[in-house]
């Protein structure tokens, strides 16, 4: 592998600065040292034949820039401004992280069901929980971005949901501040939903920066026996190199219901891995991605059925405009012994422009008998027949297209519980598509 040493030196230097300033327990110091070592050994992944996970995403533009400055401070940020760029409801609990730092003035937690800690707080309140869970799912030994995040995060949020009562939504917002230099932003979130608990979590990543910057985010979610999480992940960082990882572990009888919404980025990656590691676990993964211009978005979704009687649904929709490029890849694995698995995956794409391009390659690997699995992929333009039907009722071409696009997204949008979140995402969807934006 050909490396550009100055870039990697800069990352090492950033690690050393942080190591001097952050007071961390020994086990975490050692973990981070190991992680930066792994990152330097692995280097950024290279798109080449044989490297399936990165087949369609060329990271050279990202690898050429050292994203080693800390995110710039952003003291001007206010709750009012946030409501312009984020979904909001007075019912929700909110935690806001700006450039990796906790903002108390933009956070309020009223629900008693969720424990929300910064890293320092969590190491005081629940040190063993953190040590038992952190980096157990986002394995950094063979993953450069997991390694980079583990080595360089400035703070982390630790959320523990307890109790069987239905909680209010918890919205965790990670803001990438505006700034000139190529900075690196490393959001880290650890979520534990304890045995039998039910909870609802929104994670959102919003970029205010205009220059190239890197967001390399890692979220780890543990669902204990019978736990249930309604989860939303919003990525709206068009100017970023955004590499997002979501790692989920599910014990017996747990349920994970997740909706991802992604706008494209300079280079975007939505990297999800769900392990159904207890019998009768259920994972429902929905996704809507909306790309335009020169944006690139690579969805890499893996679901691992390890134990019997698991159910998974993977249903994604893409809407592509401009000369954007989207990818849907990854595999549903059914391990030996995961009998009676019921798994389906589907990715459909709507192309609003001739220049837009999608590579949709859902895959199944089945090593168990007595399973029910299916998959499908499709891509196409707005159907002429449908367009004519609407126009024959008086709708002009633009309005008709808009209605069809909205209908296409409905399969995913219908999976969103909170009404405020749904209407926000409908708005963002149309605002993100130049072909439709003029219509208001």
């Amino acid at each position: 592998m050909v490396q550009a040493p100055p870039v990697y030196d800069a990352y090492l230097q950033r690690f050393q600065e942080l190591a001097k300033t952050l007071p961390l327990p020994l086990w975490l110091q050692e973990m981070r040292e190991e992680a930066i070592g792994r990152f330097l050994d692995l280097g950024f992944p290279v798109a080449r034949r044989g490297n399936e996970p990165w087949k369609y995403t060329d990271l050279r533009p990202l690898a050429a820039i050292p994203f080693c400055q800390p995110p710039p401070p952003y003291p001007k940020i206010q709750a009012k401004g946030l409501r312009q760029i984020l979904p909001w409801s007075p019912r929700w609990d909110v935690v806001t992280m700006v450039g990796g730092e906790y903002k108390a003035s933009l956070s309020h937690i009223r629900g008693a069901q969720a424990q929300v800690w910064t890293l320092t707080q969590s190491l005081q309140e629940a040190p063993s929980l953190v040590e038992e869970h952190l980096a157990r799912l986002a394995i950094y030994h063979n993953d450069a971005f997991a390694a980079l995040n583990t080595a360089l995060f400035q703070d982390a949020l630790v959320v523990v949901f307890q109790g069987s009562r239905e909680a209010r939504e918890l919205h965790v917002a990670f803001i990438s501040p505006p700034g000139e230099g190529p900075y690196g932003h490393y959001p880290r979130l650890l979520v534990v939903v304890e045995k039998g608990a039910r909870a609802s979590l929104i994670e959102s990543y919003v970029g205010l920066g205009s220059g190239p910057y890197l967001t390399a985010a890692v979220t780890e979610v543990f669902l204990e026996e019978g736990a249930s999480l309604e989860h939303y992940r919003l990525v709206m960082e068009p100017e970023a190199y955004h590499i997002g990882q979501l790692r989920v572990w599910q014990d017996q009888g747990s349920s994970f219901h997740s909706v991802y919404f992604g706008r494209g980025s300079r280079i975007g990656r939505n990297d999800v891995r769900v392990e159904l590691d207890g019998p009768k676990a259920e994972a429902y993964l929905y996704g809507l991605y909306v790309t335009q211009g020169q944006e690139h978005l690579d969805n890499y979704i893996n679901i691992d059925h390890i134990k019997p009687h698991g159910t998974s649904r993977l249903l994604y929709r893409g809407i592509l405009d401009g000369a954007s490029h989207a990818i849907f890849g990854g595999t549903v694995y059914v391990q030996p012994g995961a009998i009676k698995t019921d798994a389906e995956q589907e990715d459909k794409n709507l192309l609003l422009s001739r220049e837009a391009e999608v590579d949709s390659k859902p895959a199944l690997e089945i090593y168990a008998d007595d399973v029910r699995c299916g998959h499908g992929a499709a891509a196409g333009a707005v159907a002429d027949e449908a367009l004519f039907y609407l126009r024959s009722r008086g709708l002009n071409r633009e309005l008709a297209t808009r209605l069809l696009v909205k209908g296409f997204a409905t399969t995913v949008l219908d999976q969103i519980g909170p009404a405020r979140l749904r209407s926000f995402l409908e708005m963002v969807t149309f605002a993100s598509l130049p072909s439709l934006r003029s219509l208001g």
């Binding site: 027949e385 004519f388 039907y389 024959s392 009722r393 409905t410 399969t411």
Partner: protein, 255 residues
């Protein structure tokens, strides 16, 4: 009748791709009239209404079509609709994820805006929707569904006529609206069509069978064979065709 001419077709030749399907059609429709066009499969019935509605792959090769005094063939399909032309589809298109209510709201708003009318308030729209739904025996649950998605054949046709009543156009083109309907469904659909009829309305109804004409009595019947109107007359012509078959006419006119 001396009513205003709403549609005038002169020497219309049209086809799909390289295939000529209509080989010279002449037809005049006045306000207040109901015209039925009958013909065997492949005679060009559907092509005629699709050309009139502006379906993209149907091309007019020659001839003139004047609608409300304007050159219809120069108007885009959505403008034709806003100007009061309505096509009830033989095969209504499924629109996944598009709710009936939102679809009809957008259609009605587009038409009203075109005529310089204010949009209906939510309340006014709901009242109108309820009224027309009731007329067609359509219930609330149905209105929450997606347009034509998973509808039975009968539901699709009923939904077409429901739209006809709601959008209230001037000229209705009905493309085999009777096909695939049992007698009960046919009656509901025919009742809807009759409710639409009036001195300021006109209908061009295309059908393979005479059956629907027992419920929707036409003023004129035209027989279309091989892209030409080979006979025109009153509703008794439909009964004659029913009794003797299209072959009889083909031989009579030497087609």
């Amino acid at each position: 009748m001396t009513q205003d001419v709403i549609l005038e077709i002169r020497g219309l030749r049209a086809g799909v791709g390289d295939v000529e399907i209509l080989k010279g059609i002449d037809l005049t429709i006045r306000l207040g009239e109901t015209h039925a066009i009958m013909g065997p499969n492949g005679s060009g019935k559907s092509t005629l209404v699709n050309v009139l509605a502006g379906k993209p792959e149907y091309e007019a090769w020659a001839g003139q079509v004047t609608y409300k005094g304007r050159d219809l063939l120069q108007m885009p399909p959505d403008e034709r609709a806003r100007e009061g032309l309505f096509l009830a589809f033989q095969y209504p298109v499924e629109l996944p994820g598009v709710r009936i209510r939102e679809f009809l709201r957008a259609a009605l708003d587009s038409i009203r805006e075109h005529h310089g009318l204010d949009k209906l308030s939510v309340r006014e729209f709901n009242r109108l929707l309820q009224e027309k739904a009731k007329e067609m025996g359509i219930d609330q649950d149905f209105l929450r569904r997606n347009v034509n998605e998973g509808f039975s054949g009968g539901e699709k046709k009923r939904h077409e006529i429901f739209q006809l009543l709601l959008l209230d156009p001037t000229l209705a083109l009905l493309d085999e609206t009777d096909s695939g309907l049992d007698v009960d469904a046919l009656k509901i659909v025919a009742d809807g069509i009759n409710r639409f009829r009036g001195p300021q309305k006109a209908i061009l109804l295309v059908t393979h069978y005479q059956r629907i004409l027992n419920y929707v009595a036409p003023d004129y019947v035209h027989i279309l064979i091989d892209g030409r109107i080979v006979a025109s007359g009153g509703k008794e012509l439909a009964l004659e065709v029913e009794a003797k078959g299209y072959e009889w006419l083909r031989q009579t006119v030497g087609g």
